[in-house]
Each structure stands twice: as structure tokens, then as C-alpha cells.
Amino acid sequence: MTEKSRVSAWFSILPTLAKERPYGFLDMLAVQIIFGIAAWYFLLGGLVGLYIPASWAIITIIFGNQFPLYLISLTSLYSARYGVDQWIASRAILGYRFNDIILILFYLGSSAGWIAYAALLTGYSVQKINLALQGPSVLSDPYWGPVIVAVIAILLGWYHAYRGPKSLIHIFRVGAIFLLVVLGYLMYYILVTVGTTKVFTMAPPHSVVEDFGVPPDMAKNWALALTLEWNVGLGFSWAFWYGQWTRLAKTETAAYHGTLWGWGLMSVVAGVFPAMAALVINSSDPTDWFVAMGTGYAYLGLVLFAVANITAIMTLIYPLSITTVSRFPRLKWSHATMIFAISGILVSVIPGVFQNYGTYLTIISLICGVYGALMTGGYLLTRGNLSIVDMFNMNKSSKYHYKGGFSIPAVVATIIGIIFYVITLNPFTFQSMDGLFPYITAGMPTYLLTLAIFLLLSKILKQSPPREF
């Protein structure tokens, strides 16, 4: 473990004090825009643009990301108020043992996917450049080329995450600038080269009838509901990432608004223009767009895109490892960072994983929506007034011990939420057992159901998280 990283991990266990908090509202907003605009928005925009026309795509991406963020926005206040890591605060809502289960299965387990998608985007970028330059044939292979480069990208990302924050901060800025350049290039292509008139009159190149086997008379409903669901997945996905940032905010207002608009309205532009590019070029793969643009700058765009995605891997592995080490302090730093690198590699090598981003987003919609509902419910029950002492106390004397470390209302609400989601929309087959999808979507109804059950059971069983003051 490097010295800086060791100190980071220790201090992630303890609260940040007021004097150590660097971010006012505008700083917070700027940092979250930089963190928010990344591979995930490009891929999402690409997927949406395939199935619905431009005018629908724009509002679906904006609303589909912003509204779920609003639903879970109270989650930002726990870490802002007490300066603790989010996963320490959520012990008070879930019970410390159930919190550990959610941490390992939901947060740490699902995050390997984000690493893999950023890595595979690097892989596809390099594969396209290699094809153009007629490089080694193995790198031009549609499966092995991207996978080999993705593994190298993850190892590069792992190395910098392992070295710690000093190594990361400069790379983080470079990556953000590169992505903004790529986005600017894409905007120029859509607005000037293609023209908005053409974009807004084009029909979507793919059909949900052919791709998902839905009845033709329901095609419009399914296209709208599915694309909204993918956006909701990304919107809810931020539920896991509040604490690391909001514990650095100077005020609760800065924490609340900085994350709400920084990850939402301000970052969604990174999804809107990719949607138009996908519509025009008939591909959801961002690396295809650069090639289709057909200029010398296209390959420069691919290089910038590849580098930016490697930086995204670093900025994912580092906080994941910090959370892991702060929960399991005996784990070596090198081992913690390596766990996420290996899990990212394992997801990357699964054939077809890149093409199934929609499936990944629906799974994220499920798990993050449920977690976000519980955290929101906990805030509504307590007004966020918790005992910080008892968050750290993981034995029977803690106010948040509940039943053996499990909040029964949270456990029951989670189980019902998961069952409801899966029967409403199976993330793997995209079929609806109860027939409610596409009349209602799945992520937001699951959020509301989980929240309602949690609040109701907390009152009935008299197991609300105890308020401190």
C-alpha cells in the first residue's frame, strides 16, 4: 500500500472536518460535471439513438437521468452532514450486516461493469486505429482486439489507482479535457456537417420489434419505455457514488445541488449528441462514429477517447478500493485495487458484454433504485438526524443493531422490490411477466414500491432508524 493511499483509506473511515472541505457550490458542480461526463453517457446516448427519433431522444435522456437523480437526491446529505463515507452512514439505515451485504453484492459487484465498459471502449478505439494503420492482425480481430487492449487499459488504470491520489489528480483532469474535446467534435459534426434539420427528420435505424421481439402494435410504447428505462438506470446509478464527494462539500446545499445538477442536467449533454450520432451513423458504438466521420481528425478523436476511458478506469478503481479498505482495514491496498482490476477484466472477456449495455443498465436500474429508495426512506424517517457514534459501533450496543445487524423493513422492502422489478422487466430477456411493462417502466415504480414498503414497515414494526436529535 502506498503511503498516500494508506492515509486516504484511514481518513475515509473517519469524518472529514469543516476546515478540510474544499468544495463550495460552484466547485462541487464543476467537479461533478467532469466526473459525470464519461464513457457511460456516450454508450447510453448511442443506445437510445438507435430506437427513438431525435426529439424524443433528447427529452428522454434529460428527463430519464435527471428525475431519478432527484428521487435519490436526499442520499447526498448523509455524508455532507457527518463527513463520513456513505457506506458508514448507510449502516444506520440498513443495519451494519445488511449494509455489508448490499455493499459487497450491489456496489462492489456491479461496479466491475463500469470498469469493463470504459476498458472495452478503449479497446474498440484502438482496434479501429489498428485497422486503419494495418497493424497486427490480432488487434484487428473483432473479439480479441478490443479484449486484449481492454485488459492492458485496466492494468494501466490499476497501476495509477494503486499509486494513489497524487498520480490520479493530473490524469483525471487530462481525461476530462480529452472527453470534452471529443464531445465538442461530435457536436460540430451533428450541428454543422450533418445539420439539425436532417437529424430531426430521420427515422431511428433499429426497431424494437426486430431486436426485442415485441408486437408491432406496441413498438412505440416499448421503444419509449425501454429507452427511458436505460436512462433511469444511469440516473439511479449515482446512488452509490454520493458519499465520496459530498463529504467534501462546505455546505449541505452545495452537496445537494452540486450532485443533483452536475451529474444530471449539466452532464446529459454527453448523452444527447451521441444519441444523434447513433441515429445518423446507425451504430451504438461510439468508436464507429469517429470512423464514419471520415476525416483525419477522426483518428485523433479515437486516440483522445481511448486515453479518456483509461482515466475513467482509474477514477473508478481508486474510490472502490478506498471503500473496500475502509470497511476491511486488514486488506492490503495492492490486493484491494487488484480485486477490481481482475473483476473488470473478467467482465470484459465475456463475449457480447459490450453489445449488451442495455442489460447492464437495467440491472443497475434495479439495484441502485432499491438502494436509493432505502436511503431516501431513511432520511425521511429521521430527517437525517443520526448518531455518528453508533454508525461506527458494530455491536449489540449500537442503536443501529436492529435484529442481528439487519433492518427488517429494509430487508423485506429490498426483496419485494427485486421481485417486482424482475417480473415487470426481466433484465436478461426483456420480457414482462406481469405485462405492466411498457405501460409503466420498471426502475421508477420499483423505487416507489420499495420506498413505500420501507416506510410502512418501519412504522408498523416500530423499527425506524432512531433519530439522534
Partner: protein, 70 residues
């Protein structure tokens, strides 16, 4: 304080940790003292913040249904 003796922990850090890294030990002590007081440390969110967020998001909700229903 639900069974956690913070004064003992602070004494241990002062005695043992200070020899290794006095600055780090001091910062750890500050944080443990803060935990034992159990108070929020930054200005609270105001009702106005919730209202602003609600208005903008409800407007987006209306905009979404307006666009897809046209």
C-alpha cells in the same frame, strides 16, 4: 456514548501514535473528538433548496410527457 470509550482511544493514540507521526495523530484525535460530540459540522440544507429542485424536476416531468404525447 453507547459503550464506546473515546477518551481511552485518544489516550492510546497520544501515547503510541504521536511517536510515529505527531501530525497524523493530532488529526486522528480531532476526528475522534468530533465523533464523540455527535454534531453536524456544516450549514444545514434549507427548505428553499428542496423547493427549487422539486419545481425544476416537475417541469421536466411535464416536458417529457408533453413531447412524447405530441
Amino acid at each position: 456514548m453507547t459503550g464506546v470509550d473515546y477518551s481511552k482511544k485518544i489516550t492510546i493514540i497520544e501515547q503510541q501514535f504521536s511517536k510515529m507521526d505527531p501530525k497524523l495523530a493530532e488529526e486522528l484525535i480531532q476526528r475522534i473528538e468530533y465523533i464523540s460530540k455527535n454534531l453536524p459540522i456544516v450549514p444545514r440544507i434549507r427548505k428553499r433548496d428542496y423547493i427549487i429542485a422539486a419545481i425544476i424536476n416537475v417541469a421536466l416531468l411535464i416536458a417529457y410527457f408533453t413531447v412524447i404525447l405530441i
